[in-house]
Every structure is written in C-alpha cells, then in structure tokens.
Subunit: 305 residues, 4 copies
C-alpha cells in the first residue's frame, strides 16, 4: 500500500445531534431542516452518531438510516463521517460496511472500553487494524476518555497511524501535551483533529488541521474564522474568538451535555427536540442559563463586526 | 404495593462466562456441560450476561438465547439472573421483558454510564423506576465502577431501594464503607450482595446476604464455606479461606479479566473457549501463572481438609 | 536480627487532635485535660501528630513538645505513637530520634509523597529502611492516600515488613482487598491496623489486630466493644455497633475533617479549640449537623444497653 | 489600593534546581556557577525553591539562604521569585517576609493541599488574602495538581486575582481549557504563566504572557524564540520549536522529575549534583536515555540554524 495518500480532513466539523420526535423516534424531517441550515454555513463536514449524536442510544438499524439520510441531505456539499463504534469487533466492522455502502466518507471509531484492563497495545492494534483492513472507507480514531474512561496515548496512536486506511484522530481528551505529541510523532498525512471547541486554537498551534466541535452546530462561522485567522497568521483575532467561545462550548458539552446542546439548538432556532431516555432534557433554569451564555457570545460576535 | 415482600437472595452466585466456539459463535452445548458441573456444586444461583459473561459483546438476540438456555439447563435448581442493561431505557425494558418471558428469576442492571455528567439522582431514579414498573420480574442493581467509570453512591441506592420491585444490589465497587452504608440505610428485605470474592467475608461482616463472584465458577464450595462458617460464628475458618481465595479471585477478575477466567475454566477442566474480540485470550505465560495460582489455592484447600 | 520479636500492637488507638488556644498556639493544658479523660476509657494507645493531629501545621519544635507532653500525661497507661514524617529523609530520622528520646513507644511514618512519580519500590525501601536502621524505637508505616495522593500497595508493604524494626502499618486507604492482601502476605508478627472506624470490623474480619480511628477520641468504648465482640465470635453485636458508628466516624473524618473532629470534641464535653489556619472551624450549620449525628449514635448506644 | 498597577511578568522563567554537594548539603558555589551561565542566556527570571528546587526537602533556614544567594548572584539582571509555600498560613507569611527582606521580587505560593476536603473557596481566599495583605512583595499563585493532588479552578483564581497584591499564576495543571478560562476571566494586568515547556505555545495562544519551564534551565534560548516568534506572528517557526521541545521537557519533568533535570544539567555541562533523599539519582540507563533525548533536541535546534 506504499504510495497511498490519505484523504485530507481539515476545517470545521459539527458532531450533529440526532433529532427525535416527542415519542423519542428518529425524526429525519427535523434532520433535513437542520441540514439545510448547516449547508448555508462554512462547515466542512459533519459527524453522525458521535457522542453528541447519542450513538449508544440508537439501534444498529437506526444508525444505518441516519447515515443514509445524512449522506442524502448533505448532497456532497460537506463530508459525512459515521460514528460506527460497537463493543464487539464484528459488529463494528459490519456497521462500518453499512456506512460505506450508503455513501459516508469515513468512519469514526472509539477504542473498546468496557473491559479497560484488557486494552493492551496489542488488543487495540488488532481491533483497529482488522477494522481498517475490512472497511472500504477510511477510519478515523476517536479518543473520548471523559465518556469511555479510557485514554489512547500518543504511542498507541503512532502505531495505529501507520496503517494506510487509518487516516486521522479526533482527540477529545483535552490533553494538549498529548495532542502535541501526536502531531509530532505521526506522519504528515495523518489528520489530527481537536475534539472540542474549547481548545481549538491551542490545538491548531501544535499542528492540528481542524476540529470537531459541538458549538459548530450553532456557531460554525466563528469557528471557521478561528481557523482562517490562524492560517493567516492573525493570532490576535483568532485568540479573541477562542476566548469568547469557551463558555458556550463548555455549556453544550462538559457542563450540560447533549441535553444542553439540544436546548441550544432550539435557542438558535434549529430543531433540538428531546434527548432519548435515560437522558433528560435540561431544566427551565438551565435553559435560561444557556440562553444567557448563548446571547453573550452572540453579542460579542456581532458587536465585533 | 405495601406489604409486598421482596424475593430473598442469599448465598453464592456465579457470574458465568459465555461460551463461544472457535468462530466466536455462541456455544450452547458447552454451556450445558458447564451447567451440569455447576449443578453438582453448592451454588445458589448464576448471573448470565454479566460483565464476566461479556454482555457488551453479545447481540440482543444472542442474549435472549443465552437466557433461555440457562433457564432450561438450570432446571429450577439454581436461580437465574439475567444481565439486561442496555444504554437506552427502552431497550433495557424490552430485553428485561424477554428475560422474564423465558423464565429468568430477576434482572441485573447497570446504571446508564456513557454520559456520566448527566447521571443525576433524578435521571437514575427515572431509569430504574421506569424499568422496575415495566418488568414482571424483580430488578437487582449492579454497581461496577471499574468498568463503567460511574459509581452509584449509597444515597442513590437508598432512594432506589424504596421501589417494591427493586430487590437488591450487586456492589462491585470494592468500597467497603459504601457497602456498610448501603446495608445500614436500606430496608431489611433489600438484598445487598458483594460483587467480588476478594471482599466477600468483609461484606458479610457489614451485613451482606451473599455474593456474586467470578471465582465461584471454579471454586463454589470454598465460597459457600466462607458463608456458612460466617453464619455459624466461626470467623477464624471463614478468614482462612477468604485470605487464601484473594489471589485466585484477583487473577480471574481485576488482573486478567474474562480471558483470565476462561483460562481458569479450562485449567479446572470446564469449557472456557476464546473470548470474543476485541478481547484476546491470555498469553501462554499468563496461563501458566494462573495455573500456579489455581494450584496454590487447590493445595491449600485440599490440604486443609 | 533473627529471632527478634516485634512489639505487639492491638486494640483501639485514638489519633488525637492537637489542641490550640485562641491564638493558635499549642495548648498543653488542654491536652492534659483531654488525656485525663482518655485515660478513663478503654483506649490502648494514642497517635500524636497524625493527620488528625494537624502534623503538617506544626513546627518541628512544637512536635517534640507535643510528644513529650503526651508521654508525660499518658504516664505509661496507654501507648504513645509519634507521627514523625517529614518530607526529607534526614529530617524524618532526626525527629524520630527526638520522639524516642522523649519516650514515645513507636513512630508512625507516611511514605514520601510530593514527588509521586519518583516513589519507586527502591526509593520507598531506602527511605523506610534507613529510618528503621537509625531509629531506636519501632517504625509503623502509615498509608493515607486520600491526603497524600499516593498509595503504598501490598507488595511494597510486604517488602518493608521484612525489616525487623518495621513492626506494622496503619492503612487508611479504605481498600479492603489491599488490607486483606497485606494481612495475607506479611509475617504474623507484623501488626496491621485499620486506619479508620468506618471499616474497622471488616478489617478485623480479614486479620487486622486493631484500629486507629478518629471516632475513638470521643467514643472509645463502643470501638473497643466491636473489637471484643469480634474476638468472642459475637459478630452480630459487633456488626450492630459498626453500622451505627459509620455516620459519626465519616462526619469527623472524610466529611468535615479535623475541624469536624474538633467540633465533636466540644460537643462531647472535651477540649476542641480552633484548627490552625489555613484550616477553618466548621460553620454553625455543620456543627448542628454533627451534633445530630453525635446524638443519634449516643442514643443508639445507650438505648442498646 | 485602586489604581495600583500590578508588576508585569513576561517571557521565560527557569525553575532552578537547588544544588547539593555529595553530603546533600546546600552548595552555593555550585549555584553561583549555574547562575553565571543563566545570566548569559535570554532568561527573564528564575524561580527558587519551586518544585524543581526541591522545596519540600529544604529547611526553613536553607530556603532563606538560597533566596539570599539567588538575589546576590542574579545581581538584578533577572527577576528572582521565591517559592515560600508552607503548610500553615503563619509559616508561609513568615517565610514570605524573609524573601522580601533579602530582596526577592515576588513569592510563588501553592494552595494548602494536605487536607483536600477542607479546601473551600472561603479557605483558599483567606489563606491567600491574608498572605497578600502581609507580604511586602507581590504574590504569584502556583497551581501544581500533579504534586499536590489539588487543582485551583478558574473561578477560584478569578476571585484571588481581584486582590491588588496577587499579581499572577503559574498554572502547571496542563489543563489548557482552564488556562484559557483564567486568561478570559481575570483582569488584563493579572499575569498568567504556563507552568511547563510542554504546552508553552498553546498557552501563549490563549493569552499567557510567559512560562516557567524546567527545560529553560538548559535550553533558555529556544524557549525565548517560541515567545518571540509567537509575538511576531510567526506561528510556523514557533510550532517547530515547540514540537521539538516536548520530549526533552517531558523527560526532565513528568517522566524523570528532579533527578532527570539534575542529570540533564550535567549533560549540559552545568552543575547537577545529587537530589536530596528520599529522591534518588536516575539510573545509568535513564541517564543515557536523557542524553539521547537531549542530543536529539540539540541536533534539531542547531541544524535548524
């Protein structure tokens, strides 16, 4: 496979929420409406069935339907990355093949994580190499220790980056030294993505080529501007937006999670809808708090124009 | 529902491994053979599709088949508890109903755990109460922070213990103060089980009525003797067995996990078979180490007779 | 040194608070009053300048004064163990010699813990062996990971237990499996002590010979009764007291710390006094809460007579 | 105190190791030699008796001698910051006054950390405000959770930053989101310093004005070039040095600690000497490894010229 050039991933990707109706059923019409909006923004791609997409709460069949709808509604205008991690190797491979079949551009896959003690370098290598060997579309690693309780360190990532069909990583560890070491030690065509809008600019500073961030669902433009300012050497303006963006991004991730993101979607005039149980919607008080943080950012951003 | 008396759970339960053949397919014949052996031991019950049963690696349909086979092979001689936790509330309820339909005695259910930040008391209460309201057989809570990264504290357990169809907890936290507080603060008909053979006697000392322990798959008799010595006030002999048992129990749980347990099953002359990928079998060296620890305990135990 | 028999430690030890006056100066008169009370109880020993004794907040000279006063006031009726850990090896040895000089029975010493990464087995062995070689009185290990952020595991303890002048451990890790493994793997004359009243009975069940517990400062008698009931095989009554004791012990340790213990001392009619800054006294509300917990236990205990 | 302008801290500070002779005694001649070298580099300041200066292993009197010598040898050419944290408030104030008396420019002070549970916002505020009120020179906060086991979050730092004599923070948490939030939420004259060379550039990107980094003891020039490239908008060259610098900085901090730093000092031709026990020198093998990492960076850096 020498000479293979890995697909380039760069810019801003939104890890989209999965819309449910009031009976908690998949609502593809609502998805269509949101996608129509996202296509008017400078987003470069979306991630379907990631952590923000409630992947653990979707059935296998629902995920395929979701991937298919995303590809169709995106219409080739943004990349579609499918979250296909399942606990067993065989199910992950099967679902990844389905993602390829319906036209997704790549799959995003967590390390196995329930049996933490057994996650040796050897076990991780077999899991990801077997997957990469058997999936027609590229594999992107997904490190998310806050949810999985397991961190893929930079040595493991280096080993995995050597496979021609493993093209990058979304690192949501918030560990900037680790991100720096991954950027340093992996080949130059291996795509390293910040996994959150809360440390996007620092990640660009150490060599990331883009980011996947919850806040991009509602504020894609300022995210893209951080990216462009940085690339133009205008670090001062990139910094201004990054500092302003921290609070709203934290509110829709670490602090209030998917329910917070869905509330923010509604505040922004998009479709949010209920999270699927056991997740609960945010309370009225928290919704008001998110509204305040949302407006603070909006005022900063529009005032700065 | 006042006046309802909760089902009594006591004694020794084995969290059985799920047998796979060389193609990693469910092997119910192998299960039958193991069950025939277990029925010759003083086991009081088994847990199917628990952590030792590789629940995350089984499909929904496989779990139903497994539960059905367990009930059939157990023939009413030991209790059968079904591990039915799924990430979404609706799937957990559906699978629990299946477990009831095929004749299981109770279900064992983890707290939701992927979205840790959203696990409020309110969310946990709704998840478990909705489940308990909708499941014809009793619900046993299952606290397993080493795997889930989330601990159910004693206040949460107290709240949940008030539901008439939530009859107990298997606490695998190894937190003896927490187990003590649970025993103290829950009603007397709420069954508190030690989740590991490594702290079975200490758990009995603070009020547990039994334990679910990996080592009981291969050494049910000494486990039962700890229980009986304790109940007879013969703490000295209970202590001797407990101290001897720690090493082999740690080896087939914390240290080498399900692969270690499956190796020990084979060393004991039972069916082990391969774990399902991404889990890997233990290496030759570790198998030899487990054999040594196994024999140490065996020699102690048979020498003591 | 073969043939040396290690000093026996057993029963109930109180880790006494260090009394300060309103100017935060050492108040030895208040110590005398408290000691007069403790000598009326079935306490077997005291620990001076332990964590409950605010050792980090005392100067080197104050500790020597405190040890001297404790020995004098104890008058040989209870054992006096001196907390002599200092960050550097040389200061720990020097202070331990002072403790010996003024008549303490043993020293209680934490592992070095600021530079966690450098705490190898080799480094710990040198620290404790050099100390044990150079101190005229016996050394007791003190494992307190909640404060130090560093745990001494059972293998390290086994290695250290082989030195003839290291006679035991106070394990405050609350890790009952570790305590079980220490009891199993160390020589029979090595004294293993539970480091808290919250898991005293479970620790006895796996082989401990006593405990050092904050609650013994105010309720030494019920602590001693747990010990005696256990030794008499009357586990039911030991259990009753243990379960009742958990709340008050947690309140004066994990929950409200030294300030909580000093408040409880005052509630019990003893001298408490202010903790030394940066520690702050508990608020009025917390003092009332502790009073409630104190009275709950008192009512249980006196009602049971 | 309105209208007070806080002292500006910017650029590169080295947390210097404390030299000991072969008897582990303070070696001020060796300090003089090292300082003469440092004065030839573009260092902006030094920190004496920080974590790299083995502060916990120095006596109170040794620290005063060390501060005095640093001020004398520095001769006003670089700022001298004194690490004056002691566990009790009164000792910290007393030592800080001594630091002021001998001419240090500021003090660097950890939060109290042994009694973690009692570190409320109120307690931290009193500790630092009382210190700042009573110390003639400015106070710099020092957050070092890897050693202390306690993190000062951005809300606490915001509160503390409002005191006119608390002029900044050295944040060694490696938590880039927290550093971002501190930069965002504190006044513009509050100095935020990266606490490690492993994330210096990302920290500048979110608004830090400098860094204190172990690697600056041996490679001050490239550290300063990161700072200057960044300020000139030449992020590409800043990034190149940052990525190259990660390995050697990790080796002399997280991986091999003070013993690793002292070995690297010797490799660089400076005085290293032994760490004070219980710290042990690195093994021959690790010294060789550090030499390799040292040379890798040197070759990169000189090759790039």
């Amino acid at each position: 496979m020498e000479g293979v050039v890995k697909m380039k991933l760069e810019g801003i990707f939104a890890p989209i929420p999965t819309p449910f109706d009031d009976n908690y059923e998949l609502d593809l019409n609502a998805l269509k409406k949101n996608m129509d909006y996202w296509l008017t923004t400078p987003l470069d791609g979306i991630v379907a069935a990631g952590s923000n997409g409630e992947w653990p709460l979707l059935t296998y069949e629902e995920k395929i339907k979701l991937f298919e709808a995303c590809v169709k509604y995106a219409g080739g205008k943004v990349k579609v990355i499918a979250g296909t991690h399942c606990p067993s190797t065989q199910e992950t491979i099967a679902l990844s093949k389905e993602a390829a079949r319906v036209g997704c551009d790549a799959v995003l896959v967590l390390p196995p994580h329930y049996y933490k003690g057994q996650n040796t370098q050897e076990s991780l290598k077999r899991y990801f190499f077997e997957l990469a060997d058997n999936t027609p579309i590229p594999v992107v690693l997904y490190n998310m220790p806050a949810n999985t309780g397991f961190n893929m360190d930079h040595k493991t990532v280096k080993t995995l980056s050597e496979h021609p069909n493993i093209i990058g990583i979304k690192d949501s560890s918030a560990d900037i030294v680790q991100i720096c070491q991954i950027c340093k030690n992996t080949p130059s065509d291996f795509n390293v993505f910040a996994g959150s809008g809360s440390y996007f600019l620092p990640s660009l500073a150490v060599g990331c080529s883009g980011g996947t961030m919850a806040v991009a669902n509602i504020f894609a433009k300022p995210c893209k501007e951080i990216f462009e300012h940085f690339n133009n050497g205008d670090i001062k303006n990139a910094q201004k937006i990054q500092l302003a963006l921290v609070d709203i991004n934290q509110a829709v991730t670490k602090r209030y999670g998917v329910p917070g993101l869905k509330a923010a979607m509604e505040i922004a005039g998009l479709y949010g809808g209920p999270p699927r149980p056991p997740l609960l919607p945010v309370s009225k008080e928290i919704r008001e708090e998110i509204k305040g943080i949302y407006n603070d950012f909006k005022n900063f951003y529009e005032g700065g124009k």
